[in-house]
């Protein structure tokens, strides 16, 4: 008995390939997006971790110091006085070769054996007269600018062993020679340049200083660790290597969580699509199901048949989706790694690491979604009375009766969502869950609203557009069992559009305002890495027309609790107004800020570290850990927004670093900024490569970067929208198929094909319009949650919400356009139908 019902079920689906294909596409795309995002995220993290681990080598700990690093005498002391052997000094940083950014690893080959092997490897050496391994070793140690790199990196840079090339380090061009290449271990050592520690110090202008000391201490050897700690001066700390890697990786975590949230949104839309498809398939088979029931098939069997059908559909679609996801993940990876590179750390990812967990996750989500989506219509089907089901009218009555209940359930869901939002405090995942519940809750109320509105509109429609328009409008309410799902799916897609757009737009607006306020100086000149040459600073300050100069230094300091961005500024009198304070009165705060041991913290820093004005934070200074009083919070949308702002006087007092990386130049009234920029460029030519820009240009560049960062958000949002469009198309097709007899009757009664077509198109357009209208409040709520809850929880940013009317209008236009487009094919088919044939079939 059961096999027959199953076979009948599947043969039904096979006879409606469009419906089948759409349902599968919905699940497939949802799964693909989940798999792709997960793969891209995990590939980026894995590449980063592998690269960090590889570079850390056998090091279990890393000794770090202040902004400039550690004095090299500390290393000598550890080795010679304390006899600690398993340590290796490192001077590292980023350099550029042409357009490629590379990590430079400056090492002492004599110490490397204890920590790393790859630094002392070379599979291919500089060829030429008189070159032996000895000569290579000698050149590496005694000749400045000699480097090695992986074969792949050399190939990418177009370099042959023995070639000379130019490296840009700390803004200065340096001659380099490729001494040899090594294998590079599956890309984990790509874009890493290895050189002698002496060369690295000279290139970075860091003679006398080390970036860190790598150390290997046996697990659990607390004695060795204690001995180590005792030997270190106050401004130097020993941290675990894994902890440092994780602290760095954690910086990108919020970004990746946001991506995952977007992928879940795509699946959510896909879920409605399945719900849609299965519902229709059940509805269309009501007579068949009733017949089965009349023949003695139990409710349970009917339920099982439909669920199995959905599960099989889900498995096939999810499998296809996973395959699609692998491909999509590769495309996404480029975007993800670019965003990460722009925002957090340099990671060289070239290929997707196929992670079976990502695929399993996406697959399971797809199958589960299919089953859950089918459960409701399946339960509905079992409730059919064998005889009553035969009657069409009872169906609409039932659907009509359930609409208020669904809306009530939706309201309850909203209440739960709000409760989660309020209780979950800072948890990002809970925040995302609440967003989904809100969407589902709101969406559940949509059919009720649509019914009320279309009922109200029907008389008006009759007055305005006559019978056809009236039929179109009242048809919406009359066939809610078929249209509700389409309405809900469309409303979700449109509201997502509104929510994301308003969020990005508000964010952009806040950033723009902030940039305008912050960039007070007329011209900014600085180095991207390292410090500016002091003589160059003097020369620039003396250019005629320059009346005030502010300086800034951006560094990071590190202790066991993680890394803190530190910005040290010597303000010009005009500069204070550029920093928007969130607490206190500016006069008092700025006076306090110049005093000893007082700092400002950025808003994200305050949020993340739960710091309020008046609190004390501890920072690792050159004389050990010291408490600093937080005078106030300030607004910042900086990429590395979590930062501590310190006066230069304080910075000089607490840190052993006289470097400056950026100058802000204030020009006298009437001075031509372009002229000054030209002078600075001419002045720095051949000395140090500076980035010199007017404040307007920096503003434009910053916004450009902002927009780039949100390209990925756009991509995912279009995917979600695509799923919704397919949803409407599917709903309309199914509706048309089901109403074929009705249309045939109307044709027989004298309606022309054009009238039928326009009636269908009008009805669909109305559905789109109503969905769009309902989606507006839902979208605004979503935007609010995204801005005030998700963004804050993810990044700590405070963003002012602003709603641009054109976003709402274009969302509405999109809803109508998508619906009308989706109606064209069904309308054409209905218009083409031969009434006589269809009626004879009946």
């Amino acid at each position: 008995m059961i096999p027959v019902t199953y076979r009948a079920g599947f043969s039904y689906l096979l006879r409606h390939p469009w419906q089948l294909a759409l349902a599968m596409l919905g699940v497939g795309i949802g799964v693909a997006v989940i798999v792709a995002v997960d793969l891209a995220n995990s590939s980026a993290s894995k590449a980063f971790m592998l690269s960090m681990e590889k570079v850390a080598g056998e090091a279990t700990h890393q000794v770090v110091g202040g902004p400039r690093g550690i004095k090299e005498s500390v290393y000598t002391r550890l080795r010679v006085e304390r006899g600690i052997r398993s340590i290796a000094p490192v001077v590292s940083g980023s350099v550029e070769a042409g357009d490629t950014v590379l990590s430079l690893l400056g090492v002492d080959l004599f110490a490397e054996q204890e920590i790393r092997k790859f630094t002392s490897q070379a599979t291919e050496l500089a060829s030429g007269s008189g070159t032996s391994p000895q000569n290579v070793f000698r050149a590496f140690l005694t000749e400045p600018g000699t480097v090695t790199m992986s074969e792949r990196t050399a190939a990418e840079l177009g370099l042959q062993v023995g070639d000379s090339f130019t490296i840009l380090a700390a803004g200065i061009n340096q001659p380099a020679t490729l001494l040899g290449v090594f294998e590079g271990d599956q890309g984990t050592l790509d874009n890493i340049l290895i050189t002698d520690i002496g060369t690295a110090q000279e290139w970075f202008g860091q003679t006398g200083w080390l970036s860190r000391i790598d150390a290997r201490i046996a697990a659990g050897d607390t004695h060795a660790l204690a001995q180590f700690e005792a030997a270190l001066p106050d401004d130097v700390r020993i941290l675990t290597a894994s902890g440092r890697t994780q602290a760095t990786a954690a910086m990108s975590q919020a970004f990746m969580t946001n991506l995952t949230a977007m992928s879940l949104l795509a699946l959510l839309v896909g879920l409605f699509l399945i719900f849609n498809s299965v519902s229709f398939s059940v509805l269309q088979r009501r007579e068949y199901i009733a017949t089965l029931r009349a023949l003695g098939v139990t409710r349970r069997q009917v339920f099982a048949t439909i669920l199995t059908e959905a599960a099989v559909l889900g498995v096939i679609a999810s499998a296809l989706g996973a395959v699609l996801g692998l491909w999509l993940g590769e495309q996404l990876l480029a975007l993800v790694s670019r965003s990460i590179n722009d925002l957090y750390f340099r990671v060289s990812v070239t290929e997707v690491t196929v992670n079976s967990l990502s695929i399993i996750k996406g697959f399971a989500a797809g199958v589960l979604a299919a089953i859950i989506a089918a459960a409701l219509p399946a339960a509905d089907a079992t409730s059919y009375e064998p005889r009553l089901t035969m009657l069409r009218s009872s169906l609409e009555r039932r659907a009509g009766r359930s609409v208020p209940y669904v809306a009530m359930a939706g309201l309850a869901t909203i209440v739960i969502a709000v409760a989660i939002l309020m209780l979950s405090e800072r948890n990002l995942v809970a925040g995302l869950a609440a967003v989904f519940l809100l969407i589902v809750g709101f969406a559940s109320g949509v059919p009720l609203v649509v019914r009320q509105v279309s009922t109200l509109l029907a008389p008006a429609a009759n007055a305005v557009g006559g019978t056809i328009l009236r039929m179109a409008v009242s048809g919406i309410a009359a066939s809610l069992s078929r249209t509700a799902v389409a309405i809900v799916a469309l409303a979700i897609a449109v509201s997502a559009t509104i929510g994301v757009s308003v969020m990005v737009d508000s964010f952009r607006g806040s950033v723009q305002n902030w940039l305008e306020q912050t960039l007070r100086a007329d011209i900014y000149a600085g180095v991207q890495r390292g410090a500016m040459q002091p003589e160059l600073i003097d020369d620039i300050s003396r250019i005629s027309g320059v009346v005030e100069v502010s300086t800034s230094r951006r560094t990071s300091i590190e202790d066991s609790s993680g890394r803190t961005q530190l910005i040290a500024i010597r303000m010009s009198p005009d500069g204070y107004a550029g920093t928007e304070l969130l607490d206190g009165t500016p006069d008092e705060v700025w006076a306090a800020w110049e005093r000893e041991a007082v700092v400002l913290v950025s808003e994200p820093y305050a949020y993340r570290n739960r710091v309020a004005p008046g609190d004390t934070i501890t920072l690792p200074t050159s004389t050990g850990d010291r408490p600093f009083t937080v005078a106030a919070r300030y607004q910042s949308y900086d990429i590395n927004a979590s930062a501590v702002l310190m006066s230069r006087t304080n910075y000089d007092r607490y840190f052993d670093d006289d470097g400056v990386d950026t100058l802000g130049l204030y020009l006298a009234e009437g001075t031509n900024a372009d002229n000054v920029i030209k002078q600075i460029k001419a002045m720095s030519e051949g000395r140090q490569r500076l980035r010199v820009d007017s404040n307007a240009r920096i503003r434009d560049l910053s916004l450009e970067i902002f927009d780039q960062t949100f390209v990925i958000t756009d991509v995912l949002y279009w995917l979600a929208t695509g799923v919704a469009f397919i949803g409407i198309l599917g709903a309309m097709l199914a509706l048309q198929l089901e109403r074929a007899r009705e249309f045939a009757l109307l044709r027989a009664l004298g309606m022309t094909p054009v009238q039928i077509g326009s009636m269908i198109t009008t009805q669909t357009g109305m559905i789109g319009f109503l969905s769009g209208l309902v989606a507006i409040p839902l979208g605004l709520v979503m935007a609010w949650v995204l801005i005030k809850v998700i963004n804050r929880r993810a990044f700590g940013w405070q963003i002012d919400m602003s709603v641009a009317p054109e976003i709402l209008v274009s969302a509405l236009v999109f809803a109508v356009t998508a619906s009308v487009l989706a109606a064209i094919y069904p309308a054409w088919r209905a218009a083409q139908s031969q009434p006589a044939i269809i009626m004879r079939e009946e």
């Binding site: 052997r85 080959l109 002698d196 003679t207």
Partner: protein
């Protein structure tokens, strides 16, 4: 006088830079020395005036140099130990390179520490590498000091009291040395010829006898020890000829107060190079040079290294003019150093007779070029 160890030094350097060119690593030591890197360095090719304590310090114009101390010690309970502490200095280029960074240098240091525990029949070895920069490793003249990490050989202003300190995971030595004899110049007034090539020579002196006392530590146990030590100092730019494969070197301290230094340079055709020689230093500090025809060394036994290679392991040495006949026997067969380059250097016992009168002694023997 360890010419082959010089070759070892350059090999050690190569292994730091692990070049995948197998042939380079397995090539003959001598081939490695025939590259063009000698140009610009000072040469040991003429007589020079030795001045102490100045010459205890470094001679950076020469490509390579070493401070070699070996000794035989006993603790209060009669437990016997041997030790070796050697620090090699190596100039990568004739002059110091131009640099802003203190890390860039042409000076490289390598050190070997070995302790022989005769009673437990254990032999311990440790090795250090460093560049001669930032105080990580270096050598200075006044007061004399040469060090690498926390291993150090130092002496007082006059060069009579010395101290050596070195420690590794399992072993440590902390010894005070008092010179019982003045430095003795080997070869022709300190110019020690190594082959028929005029440039193939080194400057070579020894302090053949130090009264020694201090502590030897093994696996956390400290032994208060005393005994005799021997210092060899040598610097040069070129040492081995192309047809030389290795070296057998003897430093023997006899109960009569005489100290015997002999070396045989072995050639690839299994003959002994005519430039092999030796020095006898008598109890009163006078010394006499021994030419190759003045002594005879016969191998009585051999020892097979578990890692491959067969070393001579027992000798009869005959120095007819002195009426000396000495039997030399390792205190332990396995005193092979598994440093980046493999060689054998170990404590030995001496027995024999001088003009028919029984004589005893102790010493150190170095054997290179057998492990290839």
């Amino acid at each position: 006088m360890r010419a082959t160890i010089f070759a070892s030094v350059s090999l050690c350097l190569l292994t730091l830079f692990a070049v995948a060119d197998e042939s380079a690593q397995s090539s003959r030591l001598s081939e490695l020395l025939t590259d063009n890197t000698e140009a610009g360095f000072k040469r040991a090719n003429a007589a020079r005036e030795f001045l102490f304590p100045r010459d205890h310090g470094p001679h950076e114009g020469f490509r390579n140099e070493w401070w070699y101390i070996t000794g035989n010690l006993d603790d209060d309970a009669g437990r016997r130990f041997g030790f070796e502490l050697t620090i090699f200095r190596f100039s990568l280029t004739p002059g110091r390179p131009q640099a802003q960074s203190d890390w860039r240098t042409n000076q490289v240091y390598i050190a070997h520490l070995a302790v022989t525990d005769v009673e437990d029949e254990r032999f311990y070895v440790a090795e250090r590498f460093s560049r001669g920069a930032l105080g990580l490793a270096g050598a200075q003249t006044e007061p004399f000091r040469v060090w690498i990490d926390n291993w150090e050989i130092a002496s007082n202003g006059e060069g009579e009291s010395w101290r050596i300190v070195a420690a590794d995971t399992d072993i440590a030595v902390d010894l005070a040395l008092t010179a019982l004899k003045k430095p003795v110049l080997n070869g022709d007034a300190g110019l020690s010829r190594k082959s028929s090539n005029i440039d193939s020579a080194s400057y070579y002196y020894s302090i053949t006898r130090f009264q020694t006392a201090g502590t030897v530590s093994i696996a956390g146990r400290n032994y208060r020890v005393s005994g005799l030590s021997w210092l060899d100092r040598e610097w040069s730019t070129s040492a081995l000829a192309a047809d030389q494969v290795g070296w057998d070197w003897f430093a023997l301290q006899l109960s009569s107060g005489t100290d015997v230094m002999l070396y045989n340079l072995r050639k690839s055709d299994a003959t002994v190079d005519a430039n092999s020689s030796g020095t006898l230093t008598f109890a009163d500090g006078r010394s006499t040079h021994l030419r190759v025809e003045d002594f005879n060394i016969r191998v009585n036994d051999t020892w097979d290294s578990p890692a491959g290679g067969t070393y001579p392991s027992s000798w009869r040495i005959h120095i007819p003019e002195q009426g000396l006949q000495l039997d030399v026997q390792p205190v332990l067969p396995n005193q092979e150093l598994f440093t980046t380059v493999r060689y054998w250097e170990g404590a030995v016992d001496v027995s024999g007779e001088k003009n028919g009168v029984p004589i005893a002694g102790r010493g150190y023997v170095e054997l290179t070029g057998y492990a290839d």
